[in-house]
């Protein structure tokens, strides 16, 4: 088996290099590395694949945030206005931005994937800002969505 590895090169090492170089060109190297390495598909894929993995990470975090918003609507009704704004924004991330980015990456027009991730970041930041005079209960989650989107966007830019 070692012979087989030897014959085909050592794919894991080469692909680790791709992950590292790609992540170095993002605004958050650590987040990029840890997110990609957590996904078994990140070995042995191309930049497009790495971009997709990151987009799906945005999606997962956005779903988590969306669920948190729902819970908060029940437990903290005084934050209703901001939470309604955030609902709309996370709806846009999950129903528009993420599907747009996935489709654009798979079908081969990556600028729309960049647009989707740029907007996802904007929506997360905007949700956070909508808690004007109170402390946002969603800061950690909003920041995570923002950071993941920014990393995804940076990865996708390599394809343009």
């Amino acid at each position: 088996m070692l012979l087989l590895f030897h014959f085909y090169g050592i794919p894991q090492e080469k692909d680790q290099n791709l992950i590292e170089t790609t992540c170095k060109n993002t605004p958050n190297y650590q987040l990029c590395i840890s997110t990609l390495r957590a996904h078994p598909g990140s070995i042995n894929t191309d930049i497009e694949g790495l971009g997709l993995i990151m987009v799906y990470a945005v999606k997962a975090k956005a779903i988590e945030t969306s669920n948190a918003i729902k819970k908060l609507k029940g437990s903290q009704p005084e934050l209703r206005n901001a939470l309604n704004d955030c609902s709309g924004r996370y709806n846009a991330i999950l129903e528009a931005d993420v599907p747009e980015a996935v489709e654009a990456l798979i079908k081969g027009d990556p600028k729309f994937a960049e647009d989707g991730m740029a907007d996802a970041s904007l929506e997360a930041v905007s949700c956070e800002k909508s808690f004007k005079q109170v402390i946002s209960p969603l800061t950690v989650l909003n920041n995570a969505v923002r950071d993941l989107s920014d990393v995804a966007r940076a990865i996708i830019r390599n394809l343009l």
Partner: protein
Amino acid sequence: MKSPSPYIPLLDSGRDPSRGPSKRRRPSRVVILLLAGLLAAALLVAVALNYKGSGESAVNRPEKTVPAVARGVTEGVSAKSFAPLLGALKSNWTNKILAWQRSAYHFQPKKNWMNDPNGPVFYKGWYHFFYQYNPYGAVWGNIVWGHAVSMDLIHWRHLPIAMVPDQWYDINGVWTGSATILADGQLVMLYTGSTNESVQVQNLAYPADPSDPLLTNWIKYSGNPVLVPPPGIHYKDFRDPTTAWLTPEGKWRFTIGSKVNKIGISLVYDTEDFKSYQLLDGVLHGVPGTGMWECVDFYPVSKIQENGLDTSDNGPGVKHVLKTSLDDDRNDYYALGIYDSSTAKWTPDNPIIDVGIGLRYDYGIFYASKTFYDQNKKRRVLWGWIKETDSEDTDVRKGWSSVQAIPRTIRLDKETGSNLVLWPVEEFDKLRLKKKVFDNVEAKAGSVVPLDVGSATQLDIVVEFEVDQKALESINGTNTTYSCNANGGAAERGALGPFGLLVLTDNDQVEQTPVYFYISKDIQGNFSTFFCADHSRSSKAPDVDKAIYGSTVPVIKGEKLSMRVLVDHSVVESFGQGGRTCITSRIYPTTAVGDDARLFLFNNATDAGITASLQIWQMSSAYVQ
């Protein structure tokens, strides 16, 4: 003769569009699967399964605050969205404000997303316009060819969708293409398809019934694709074929953008029947560092005449424009040069401002533009896609996204010889209603003058400025440089500027959008004039674009400074010096809307007074059927 290619056309698998997208081709999977037999198979099979597309379940779909509609089935992309008529008040954006944003006289479909103009053409008495369209949502996806017709480029009638992704060779996208009218009047359409393996190929389509002036139905050639990516070209870097032109040998020739590493290039093909092609050696042109060339356009302009030229025209009185949309920065660039039809090569007049690194059609929001030769009125007409610059959340709520620019005529600037001049087509002027004239309005240094025009959201404004001559002469030049987007916008005062208009501005000028000139003078006493649009204070909303756009504008000695500004709700098109420099803006005010939007003249210069003469028309809507 078809050039050899590694892409064997797949048999039509009778593909069921409700299945997910096919898996992406990765040759190393063979290696993985071999190893899987030796190692833990389960983990590696799981790896292989991850890229079957969006088959994974949508976990806990978020509760929607808008009426839910069935999702588009193919790739799980965006659901249809409606602007909510009910629902909670969101922070900045009331339904009233969102409704106000919709344009009155720009082309847009009734709802949903639009992007690139496709196949514009004049045929049997009608102007045809096709466009990239998403029938299911206010975001890019599920792309089909929308279609509309007009007799005057201003009033449009929507027609049924012209082409949908229903063949293996365009199932992942019926993308941008161009029309060519053959010598016998026959119309052919070349367009890019994204295949079931996401390979970009070129396809031929033609009207099902050429005698139908509305060109309602289209047939795709049974032998598609007619072109696949040639050797050395990545299968995702091969799209947007141009209108073809005749070679001296009587063949048809077209060009298509691509890239090699970061060198943007344009490939050239010859054909006699649009079915089989010969790839020419080399490229029409290429520019290092520019990246992928999308929506390439290539056409002649006359050095002598005022009218436009047929795409096949050539000769000593002709220059050729090579234009591209840069994927990298979403701007449209052009350059003037000379085309050698015997070598199929184009050379820029000035390599310093070569394609992609020099002049732009428009310094604002304007992309994927495409011209056509209008043989009806003998002019070259330009279409350009104007996207939204607000958040997707707002687009989903209002249920639409993007407009097209008012079609512009293009001609060579005879005075400078080194740039184009773009101007709204003359038919646009028919929308003018009541006119108000303001003659010789003085604006001293540091002043704002209200212009009482009544409603200020649908306007055509033409202004001429005179700058205090003594100030121009006596001001000391400096060696500081200015640029629209790097300096402080309209609030940064210079000796001789900025001055211009404040559009979509509320009474207290809290929300304001300045469109202005800025004159700078260097130590030798030479003037440079800048034409800018400043969105930094255009809205109190934090989630809209606030950039400052613009560029230098050539001014011939003795010319007055002039601008024309078209205001159409959230779309503003500004033209400096007769269209030498253009800026398209998207503006989303929260208070300067409806009856609260006003128009002002302003002069923020420190040392020069200005005098402005204005003609301002109220504009009617362009009725759309």
